[in-house]
Symmetry: C2
Amino acid sequence: MSGWPVRYELLHVCRQSGARLGMVHTPHGSFETPAFMPVGTQATVKGMSPGELRDMGAGILLSNTYHLWMRPGQDIVREAGGLHRFMNWDRAILTDSGGFQVFSLADRRRITEEGVAFRSHLDGSRHVLTPEKSIGIQNDLGSDIMMAFDECTPWPAEHDYVKRSLERTTRWLERCVASHTRPHEQALFGIVQGGTFADLRKQSAREITSIDLPGYALGGLSVGEPAADMYHMLEEAVPLLPSGRPRYLMGVGSPDHLVEGSIRGIDMFDCVLPTRIGRNGTVFTARGRLIVRDATCAHDFGPLDPLCDCPVCRDHTRAYIRHLIKANEMYGLRLASWHNLYFLMALMRQVREAIREDRLLDLRDELRDRGTFDKKIRPL
Amino acid sequence: MSGWPVRYELLHVCRQSGARLGMVHTPHGSFETPAFMPVGTQATVKGMSPGELRDMGAGILLSNTYHLWMRPGQDIVREAGGLHRFMNWDRAILTDSGGFQVFSLADRRRITEEGVAFRSHLDGSRHVLTPEKSIGIQNDLGSDIMMAFDECTPWPAEHDYVKRSLERTTRWLERCVASHTRPHEQALFGIVQGGTFADLRKQSAREITSIDLPGYALGGLSVGEPAADMYHMLEEAVPLLPSGRPRYLMGVGSPDHLVEGSIRGIDMFDCVLPTRIGRNGTVFTARGRLIVRDATCAHDFGPLDPLCDCPVCRDHTRAYIRHLIKANEMYGLRLASWHNLYFLMALMRQVREAIREDRLLDLRDELRDRGTFDKKIRPL
């Protein structure tokens, strides 16, 4: 179909790594890729204002269909004029299908060919999520990019189960396409499944891309499998995706995975990691993750990360942020999340710059050697 | 003593009400009075950044000695270079004495002439707070204005008890003055007690002002007594305070009390009300308080207060803020507190403007007639 509302523009391919520098154009502005999408589950990126997200360079946010469906309900969002107006965010929004949350959050779920029956995690009420229902809600939300309703197969899973599941995901994609009422305003992305089986990843990639869509995602990764398996699946599946479409690796957001994913041709990422670990008092630094709530930070009047130029590192010390977090102060959680999001946005700027300069593998090695990928900060 | 670090400049007396327009000069800048001081109990005004507080015109914050003593401990704040640097606030700071919190929060407290023995509300550890200890902690915190250690007598209380208590408060004030090690950098304010007894208020005002200090406060009001009693006490005590010093009414922050206090010659106020009711989903409006978490706001896409020009009312709707609060989202609490603080800062700007124009009684009547003082919003 021509005239899709979301279009990918390839700007440069890194001669060293093969990574892509690109631009995704949406009805709510364009953003450079590879890009990290902050997650605003309940129509808010925890603690952050839209202005702060704009200031750190976020061009697109992700929001969760399941949560908005359950609360406040998509009718209220539609009445508000769509999710952009509801949350006062004028740049791009991607919504997931709700499938992942139904599988991971809801109680007593039952999967059939029709869809998934489950009980709400909020009040126990019964619901059924189907491809048509998911697309209907996302049409109400008015996101720029909608995700197909799929089954995110768990890890580990049997080859036989994964094969049956991915084939159902393909049939569900066809139903998503058929029920999509706003194809000129909202782009629908298909999702490649297949677990950690190379043959199934390739089968799913072929099936999903046989349906012409403005973008494709890889789902069912970063769900507990070893990183090497994830990288292997990217190497098997990404070459089967059309080069003229953005490629989105769902649920990925640690610094190493963002860089390694970019090296393997991924354009878009999302993850709750920066806000989740922030709320638990852990922050990213160029030398690895720092548990700022630890006693070691009590008298430390330096910034969270001496190499970071974010407003949090400019204005506040580790000792102060530790105090706030220990005292359960909202502002402490806000500062840790703010820094972590900024850190990933800055990392992606570095990645894009390295692609432009054909040196993404060098950057990866530099970051690794500095400790940026470490789970625990290296002492100076 | 000459060369006090905090100085009051009288700019104008309202010919209609007698209220004072003034300016308080401190080592960290000057602020116009009557002024409302946002409360940053644990070295943070709940959810707000220093920049946001500056932008709404806050010239002085209040922070709580008891809380900072218990956590993180005044040694860490002193090491940071004082409270201003610890919390990155370069305008004025007032600290209370810790007495009020010891009386209201701590467990198993026992009052003697020496001070108050109590157990921490955090871990049950034993401590003693004395005039010397309170001043020592406040000297470490480095606030611009320190409050004397007093007993905030509860309401109701017997005349005999209140009399003995206020006389001890006077003796404690003498010990505060004697132990203050930084009188050229930090101003110590004395506190007038006396409950709701006119004779005792006057006795306390005479005793406290017999000690020459850069400012005086009225304590033990807004602790449950009828508003008429509080106004009566102001009318009895304020005329006894020297006109060349700022007058601070402690713990007062509802719109009606701020205006009525200003009319009775008060220059400074503080209260946790705006952030506390904000966190509970209630906001001030020009037509009275709105419970934004109520179902009536679910489909209301107007601002919290159509007459408010704050960033929250500019950017977000009642329906969105209600959703955030119902979903326990930090950003919702932040928005409600932000609006409420802004509302009181804007109210005080109106009060100062009315004093300048000799029409504060008219403003009081206009606000009352509009519903600004109402506990429940008036339907349009």
